[in-house]
């Protein structure tokens, strides 16, 4: 048994039973990173010493006979758009190559308070824009199941690290699928909570009305525990919901009897990969066999969701990323003679192509004369999508779709066509548009051994239902027990 293969709750049991120390476990994961990260390249920055120190503190606590929390002593890592006090936070951008925040993101504070040793910062698509982590300025993160394939994105580093055993759990951010899609590609569990459930303070904004931070874990139980740790009202985020606290582990009930499942058939027709489709249908059979009923429906405005998403997220990004102007922090050009050149050159040099593309799309959509045709229309689509979900949730307890239409693709396969890259978000964007909770859990492997993800969507603040469904599926299948073998195509069971 390798400690780095274990889930957080398994580690917790070892710690509480004094069968292992947090230091041993943390060191095991650090050694794991040492041995595989030159291939996976999930980490941008490592904070091993601080992690070991944190682990020792937890061990001392255990020795004193004090109780420890579910994630206490369980080593983890953050996506590099989450601000960490004193530790470089780059958003995988040249723009923030040397940026060191003097404040912690809300979730970073929560994780620190929860006592998890922090291993470092994880690679991502620049400013969270992308679906393959190929848009990182610094490095390519590889899919642990096949190093020739992308890990997905934008939280590619966060998914790959969990999949590779380089972190027990990680946090990512999800604007249009950026947690769920890489989770699906890397065979791990990834959840985007209801918009507003987790504070966005200290998460470097991509699209404010869509961004949400969430966990990437090895199973659903860990997901519930991480959610318990990072959820909570934050007065520093105006959009943070002030709702009473829920213990999500209470939702981990192995029972879907009598529940009604809605299947959005839009994603099981044209364009979906056969093996993905088969895996999703098989998953529905599992639910049926456990006493749930399945109904099919077609989404309203399904084909407008993606364009609406790219307009809204681009518009917000164009404004959110305007603060990176080379004046106060971040990249400043060497060559300028006046203010205009300072702005233009700093931003031209600091941002990569995809970021520039989205800023341009967003700027255009907000421009006078185009606002009504693009931004306003996209907001109308948003309303239609929200209402459609509301209607469906009057009939169904949760909704199921594939997380992605296909499994992980090869490097460079889609970089030539931004539009084809954007299609990766097809199944996931509507969930962000409507602000709903959604999870991706492993539900199979394709012929090449690449993981397939099942997306479960819940109603607003319906995290418990989502977790219950996901947990039940997990308890009745074995996919979550699969671990990647780095450098070999086939995975292995533990």
């Amino acid at each position: 048994m390798n400690y780095y293969d274990l889930t957080a709750h398994e580690i917790h049991d070892l710690l509480v039973g004094k069968e292992a120390t947090s230091e041993e476990i943390t060191k095991s994961v650090i050694t794991r990173i040492d041995s595989v990260d030159d291939k996976v390249e999930a980490y941008l920055a490592r904070t091993s010493e601080a992690a070991i120190e944190a682990a020792k503190r937890v061990d001392a606590k255990i020795t004193r006979g004090e109780r420890i929390g579910a994630l206490e002593g369980v080593p983890m890592a953050f996506k590099d758009n989450l601000c960490t006090n004193g530790v470089k936070t780059t958003c995988s951008s040249r723009m923030l190559e040397t940026f060191v925040p003097f404040y912690d993101a809300f979730v970073v504070k929560k994780v620190n308070e929860g006592g998890s040793p922090v291993l470092g910062k994880l690679n991502m698509d620049e400013f969270a824009m992308g679906s393959s982590t190929e848009n990182s300025y610094f490095q390519k993160t590889r899919n642990p199941y096949d190093l020739q394939k992308v890990p997905g994105g934008s939280s590619g580093g966060s998914a790959a690290a969990v999949s590779a055993g380089s972190a027990v759990f990680t946090l990512g951010s999800d604007t249009g699928g950026s947690i769920r899609q890489p989770a699906s590609f890397c065979g791990v569990v990834g959840m985007k909570p209801t918009y507003g459930l987790v504070s966005r303070f200290g998460c470097i904004a991509f699209a404010s009305s869509l961004d949400q931070i969430g966990p990437l874990t090895k199973d659903v139980t860990d997901c519930a525990n991480v959610l318990n740790t990072i959820v909570g009202h934050d007065p520093a985020d105006s959009t943070s919901l002030n709702v009473s606290k829920v213990d999500y582990t209470k939702a981990l009930v192995n029972d879907v009897k009598g529940l009604k499942i809605g299947v959005a058939t839009d994603y099981l027709q044209d364009g979906v990969n056969d093996e993905v489709k088969a895996a999703v249908l098989a998953a529905l059979d599992v639910f049926r066999s456990l006493g749930a009923t399945v109904g099919e429906y077609t989404m309203k405005a399904a084909k407008y969701a993606l364009p609406a998403y790219y307009i809204i997220s681009g518009a917000e990004a164009s404004s959110n990323l305007a603060r990176f102007d080379g004046i106060r922090y971040g990249h400043r050009t060497e060559s300028f003679d006046n203010l205009k050149e300072l702005y233009e050159n700093s931003r031209s040099e600091g941002f990569g192509d995809e970021v520039k593309r989205r800023i341009m799309v967003g700027t255009y959509a907000l421009s006078s004369g185009y606002y009504d045709a693009y931004y306003k229309k996209a907001q109308k689509v948003r309303t239609v999508i929200c209402n459609d979900f509301k209607e469906q949730f009057e009939k169904y307890d949760f909704i199921v779709t594939p997380t992605t239409m296909a499994t992980a693709f090869t490097f460079g396969e889609k970089t030539g066509s931004p539009l084809e890259m954007y299609l990766n978000d097809l199944c996931t964007v509507s969930v962000n548009i409507a602000g709903l909770p959604g999870i991706s859990i492993p539900c199979g492997f394709d012929g090449g051994g690449m993981p397939i993800g099942l997306q479960i969507i819940g109603r607003t603040l319906g995290e418990e239902m989502v977790l219950r469904a996901a947990y039940t599926f997990e308890q009745n299948t074995q996919f979550h027990k699969h671990r990647a073998i780095i450098g070999e195509k086939e995975g292995r069971s533990v």
Binding site: N81, L82, C83, T89, C91, L96, F99, P101, F102, Y103, A105, R200, F201, G202, C203, I204, A205, A207, S208, S209, P235, A236, D237, S238, T239, A315, E316, S318, S319, A322, R323, F324, D325, I327, R328, Y329, L339, Y343, T363, L366, S367, S368, Y371, Y375
Partner: protein, 476 residues
Amino acid sequence: MNYETVVGLEIHSELSTVTKMYCGCATSFGSEPNIHCCPVCLAMPGALPVLNKTAVEFAIKAGLAMNCAITRSGKQDRKNYFYPDLPKAYQISQLDTPLCVGGYIDITVGDEVKRIRINRIHIEEDAGKLLHEAGGGTLVDFNRGGTPLIEIVTEPDIRSSEEARLFLESVKAILEYIEVSDCKMEQGSLRCDVNVSVRPAGQTEFGTRTEMKNVNSFRSAVRAIDFESKRQIEELEYGGTIVQETRKWNDDKGESYPMRGKEEAQDYRYFPDPDLVQIVVDDEMLERIKSSLPELPDARKARYVGDYGLTRYDAEQITNSRCLADFFEKAVSGGVSPKAVGNWIIGDISKILNEKSMEAGDIPFLPEQLAKLVTLIEEGVISNTAGKKVLDELFENPRDPELIVKEKGLVQISDEGALKAVVVQIIDANPQSVADYKAGKEKAVTFLVGQTMRATKGQGNPQMLNKLIKEELDSR
């Protein structure tokens, strides 16, 4: 041809909240640069704005005081543009749901009351300040960045620079009364943009308007309006046309010039700020703010005319400043003549404040001390002239006026015997004046009064001296 000038104003006033609009930093002047800053007002990555509720209440208070309707559910919008003093590269403002809409302020022009309508009042945040260095570099001070502002936009109801001045003074007075702004123009807490157009008298359509920015005092508003309306009239008289443009007022040169096209043709790409939620004003909040409104300048003015018998003009002079009005009321509360107190305030006190560039709030002595001064004059203890000396002394080194009078020997000599002796002595020494008086030249009396005043070091009671001199002359 006769032309009519049409003016609309956009007035920016900083709100005197303790903290900034979207963070917990203090709003304060005169500190070291970049002391009152945090991740939010420096627009650090990942920082988020949280609306200052007091700023919203202050803006609503202003709206209610200016007779506006209050928007019950409003949003905040981003106004996007790049400038180093604007760290987010967007200003959070309100585009189409201003907090307050459709109000008015009545001003008194000559003998007539004129209503100036207010189109809207919205909230927004201030920018930082650029500090250009001698060596060519530019530094930014973000202390002011994120300070709450209201923008008051009028309808084009103002017809002259004088009306604009009266309106601005009313706005300043109201904001002071409701204690939402300290309205110190020198510190930039009250600024305005001025829209000016002209049209032939009698024409109903408006002429093409221009907008002037960088108008930073009431005086420059008056000058800018006069300059611009004159410029437009001359342009039209010579057969030209007015171009709709944004102009920048240069107060040193006393003229405005068009801003370059680039500065002007900005597309701000407004859109609702997704980091903020709807501003909801419920009944309870609205009632609470309504009931917190103090007596406003207009009501006070009416009270001063009715209760104290001041003229409308005098009452307005005093009530235009809440500090001055409070000072006035405290001074008259002991029963001295309001008319006399009013005259001192409007006259010498205002003059001295002006000379010293002080505000009413800076008056160093107590209202009770002014009341004492007035009493001393009314009781004939000191002359009016001596009273002015006492006032000067009150500004220099405030203390009990009676003490000042004693120390400075300002007590008026009203002892008839003592004065009579001086009068006889002076008349004896000026036979020519006696001759003049006998020849019917009344001026001789004035001369002799002056001489006796000099002899008494100004302490002689002038009325008595006048009387005694005439009696002595007639007896000769």
